[in-house]
Symmetry: C2
């Protein structure tokens, strides 16, 4: 299907068919037609140059207000002289309303999306618009309005009518094959709206369908092609990693050695395994994978030197792998591996990861460096660690599908640099959420420089961050800003599930203020305490303290019984999602009884280990993760 520009009157006629109200116009090729049109519509009128080439009519003087036939004749002639003019549209004049912009376009990664915001001449300068992928729900639209700076003006007008208009676009865009549409402006009134100008392009939509195939993260037999007995080689490290699991059948492959560290070596030709880990120079990888077809169900390629490299051979090799992946699943290339922490299978080149603590958080990352960073920093329980690297075959949606069905995982923490098929990524996250799991996402490449760097890094195109962020909100994922927030948020979701608001209790007022400030300034939610709660807390605490949220308990908080009562009061308030307690040790050192803490989130400096509750070593970390989560729910 060819890309086809509709003229203004054609665009409006099409919209009208779907019950969308437009400023109908009559296309006139000559003066007589214009005069007839004017007689039908009645003065005053607007005359606009009609052209498929002119995008901004006002800028070329292509919009005229006419009050009588004399005006009409003069303006018709002038408009027809504008370069590119194919005719003149004669249109009824409408009272000026709030100028809304409604746009539809196709993103290369995410497909059709809707943009709604402040229209008119300020559209491009102010950029006050909000985005969601199509189709949109009423809830999506309400969220979009909340994101607009100009919502104050818009909310006084007929937003219900606008919502109805926008909901119609779901079907309209799909059925009419709209790939681009600008309704700018749409005049919005106290009652109703009218689409004043419309520009539509129809054509063939990009196909985002993608087959999800099973990924193996629980192999029973693993070959290591390029196994080595030199401790400085990756092929040695991988064998060490795997050996920590005594039940795993390991098949080292190295034609020059009879055994490696006591394990006999094998020939590729004799293999029949679930997984083959390849630790060979890049130039040998393709032929090896060819040989492995039918002998291994999945190949994990540690080797680098593929599309991430600046050399042409790398790209050719990766293309060959992509073709081979029809017959064998491929993870990588350019990965350090994966760890199935539940089953203690460390299929990676980092032997220390054999001893990770088991838990319900899965980490799926495009970068191996970020995995190492996180696993060094956090003493947290994980279910799986999966590094995807170049993703010539196995990609995020495949791993999401695996995790969706996995009973051991409650939270999926995702580090992504760029996505090729954002729509499939979005769908995968939606499915995870629908299956009751939580998803936290960190996207690198918010800035232009990181974009280019990650392009080189994993050879993928990092799209516009705004579309990415909007789509994650739409999918129900918690979006965070850095790796520490990624894991902190995952830890809180694993422990507390959905968190809607935070009540803060601080021994020192300053700490509570800083925490409240971080949460609010990042768009998170502080609990609005009920009247009953406020009254009860006022009874517990002396009047020298601040007894709203954040609650400054001051030295009274060092009295365990008072503190216990405050916590109980807060927990019984249905407006309270979680309680965040902050304390930096200072004299007098009365001891708070540890059994006071049942389900609070605690910042205790210097860090104190407590049972049953999540303890952070900084206010900033606790508050930032809580901001990210409460903003989402």
């Amino acid at each position: 299907m060819e890309r086809k520009f509709l003229m203004e009157h054609e665009s409006k006629d099409l919209l009208e068919k779907y019950g969308i109200r437009t400023a109908k116009c009559i296309f006139s090729r000559n003066l007589n037609e214009a005069i007839t049109a004017a007689k039908n519509l009645g003065f005053p009128l607007v005359m606009k140059v009609a052209s498929r080439k002119i995008v901004h009519k006002s800028e070329v003087g292509g919009v005229r207000f006419v009050y009588n036939e004399k005006d009409l004749v003069k303006n018709f002639e002038e408009l027809m002289k504008i370069r590119g003019a194919e005719g003149v549209n004669v249109q009824q004049m409408f009272e000026r309303g709030f100028e809304l912009f409604v746009g539809v376009a196709e993103d290369q990664q995410f497909g059709s999306f809707l943009a709604v915001g402040l229209g008119g001449v300020f559209f491009s300068a102010i950029k006050d618009y909000s985005i969601r992928l199509l189709p949109v729900s009423r809830k999506d639209l309400e969220e979009m309005f909340r994101e607009l700076s100009s919502r104050e003006i818009l909310m006084k007008l007929d937003t219900e009518a606008v919502i109805n208009l926008l909901l119609k676009l779901n079907e309209f865009v799909e059925k009419e094959n709209v790939i681009e549409m600008d309704l700018n402006p749409v005049f919005v009134y106290k009652k109703g709206y009218v689409v004043v100008d419309a520009r539509i392009v129809v054509g063939k939509k990009k196909d985002f369908s993608r087959e999800i195939r099973k990924v193996i993260l629980d192999p029973e037999s693993v070959a290591v092609v390029g196994a080595s007995n030199n401790p400085r080689k990756v092929g040695y490290a991988v064998v060490q990693s795997l050996r920590s699991n005594k039940n795993l059948k390991i098949y080292p492959v190295n034609p020059n050695l009879k055994e490696i560290d006591g394990i006999p070596t094998y020939k590729i030709e004799d293999l029949s395994v679930d997984l083959a880990v390849i630790c060979l120079p890049a130039e040998k990888v393709v032929e090896t994978v060819e040989k492995l077809v039918g002998r291994a169900k999945e190949a994990l390629i540690v080797s680098a030197g593929f599309k991430e490299a600046e050399v042409e051979e790398g790209k050719i090799r990766e293309e060959r792998l992509r073709e081979l992946s029809r017959n064998i699943r491929i993870i990588g290339p350019n990965v350090f591996g994966f760890v199935n922490v539940i089953k203690k299978i460390n299929a990676s080149f980092t032997p220390t990861f054999s001893n990770l603590k088991a838990g319900r958080i899965a980490l799926v990352s495009q970068s191996g460096g970020i995995c190492h960073y996180i696993l060094h920093k956090f003493d947290v329980g994980f279910s799986y660690i999966v590094h995807l690297g170049n993703r010539c075959d196995v990609d995020f949606p495949d791993v999401f599908d695996f995790l969706e069905k996995d009973q051991n995982t409650k939270v999926v923490a995702v580090y992504v640099e760029g996505v090729d098929n954002g729509r499939a990524f979005f769908d995968g996250i939606r499915k995870l959420r629908n299956s009751g799991k939580y998803v936290v996402v960190l996207k690198a490449g918010k800035s232009s420089v990181a974009d280019v760097a990650s392009l080189s890094h994993t050879g993928s195109l990092a799209g516009d961050y705004r579309i990415f962020a909007s789509s994650m909100k739409q999918a129900g994922a918690v979006l965070v800003e850095d790796p520490v927030e990624l894991i902190d948020s995952a830890v809180l979701l694993e422990k507390y599930g959905e968190i809607k608001s935070v009540a803060i209790v601080a021994i020192q007022a300053g700490l509570g203020i800083v925490a409240a400030d971080i949460i609010e300034s990042r768009g998170g939610k502080l609990a609005k305490l009920s009247e009953k709660t406020l009254k009860e807390i006022k009874n517990i605490l002396p009047p020298i303290t601040f007894r709203e949220n954040p609650i400054d308990v001051s030295a009274s908080g060092l009295d365990s019984e008072k503190l216990r009562k405050i916590f109980e009061t807060l927990w019984s308030d249905e407006n309270v999602g979680v309680v965040l307690f902050c304390y930096a040790e200072a004299p007098p050192v009365w001891i708070i009884s540890e059994d006071v803490f049942k389900k609070e989130i605690v910042v205790w400096i210097p860090e104190k280990r407590l049972k049953d509750v999540v303890v952070f070593d900084s206010i900033e970390r606790a508050a930032k993760a809580l901001a990210a989560i409460t903003k989402c729910f």
Copy 2:
């Protein structure tokens, strides 16, 4: 001087006196005057209702375009019927330009400020404006324009003319006692501008002058009033803190005891000391301070129960202290104290602070909790720790003045909740900067809730964060978002001074991308590497890596000689401010020689101690502090 509203024609006449171009208008009380005015100006004209009571003329239908005398008569009559009409202004019609808003107002904390931004009907909805305190410099104005979303449109027009207009306001506002002014809109053209509407209020400006008096942070003799030998009392802790300094003369005061921990006690009547620390119940404090006048130069009041308390007595007590401070300097009340780390004087109730590491960072904080939080978390060298609490007398500007003259301090880290005299705060920071010291500021109360909480906490009014942030930028302070950033930024400024840009070198690309992303998305600056540098780095590194900023050195970075060459190349590039190196340990564990690091900032996980360079335990911390600093310089 009374508050006086000028009428539109009076406002414009006044502006014209200063060479500011306005759409001059003729004030007409009756139809004859209006007709005469029209004859002088010539049609087409604009007629506007003239009234000191109507702020938004358009909203009441008070602006009319008239093309002939008949129009004029009809419109004159209609305009005069508008409630509040005192007459009609007749004005020449101007071509519509970019609608700029220029406003002047008086902030209760900071005094006169200028706001410039997008005018017209969008002013209040879009809030696209930028603020600076008056007077402004050309540099300030250029920065203001850069902050506007609508700068793209404005920059194509005659900004030079606008700058000249705005610079004239420095003198205008001062000499004419302008306390409020709206020039909205000012039409800006490709050539020139015209002030289309003007509303001015003159009156008496608030006086922000404040005497700076010497604060004593290096006492040689210290009394402790309310000293105790009960280890659970504050009066015991303070004596312990002071005793760590053997040279200090300590005078415990307690009428019920002969000695405390081996030191004989004294009567207040016999004292003659530099400093008296008061650890008594609130109700005894005022009479004690009265007695101390003439016997102590300065009183540090640890006791709480003053204006921060909800009770009326607290406010009365604080007012009495304020009066007494004419005769004795007072720090507090409601403070944990101060520590002069250089001279090892710990005048606080936290004995563990006697052993702080000496350095060139002074921490001045309104919250004692934040001081404890920071001193527990950071193993960093400080010159002074000063807690200001309620600030009934000694306030930020006094401490800034002390530090300005102090040779031991290079960086001043400030935690502030609210300021009463923001202008004096601003001036104090400017003076610190002018004396060559660096200032980092964390303001609590960005959000509304924190505002109210800090109001209770230290009884001060936290003003609009936007004015605060703008004034800090104007004063040359680095503005940060949380306590960790506060100290991290101070550490970097102490070590590296002004930092203009960052070059990132990462062993794992993902870490470099995350760092770059944080820096750029927060408005910090990444170094633009010179052609020469790029070429040299391409010669050092293989083509599989990303060799721009951030530089992905990959495994080549584990070769100490290559890494050294890269660092040297970067340091010789004048576009590079600092080099940030990132590494999360991963096999193969080749060792990087430690002597490679000369002046880099290093993130090495798990943290490695290195001589001579600043090491961070997270990418986030390094990148956020570098973002805050490079954004400022």
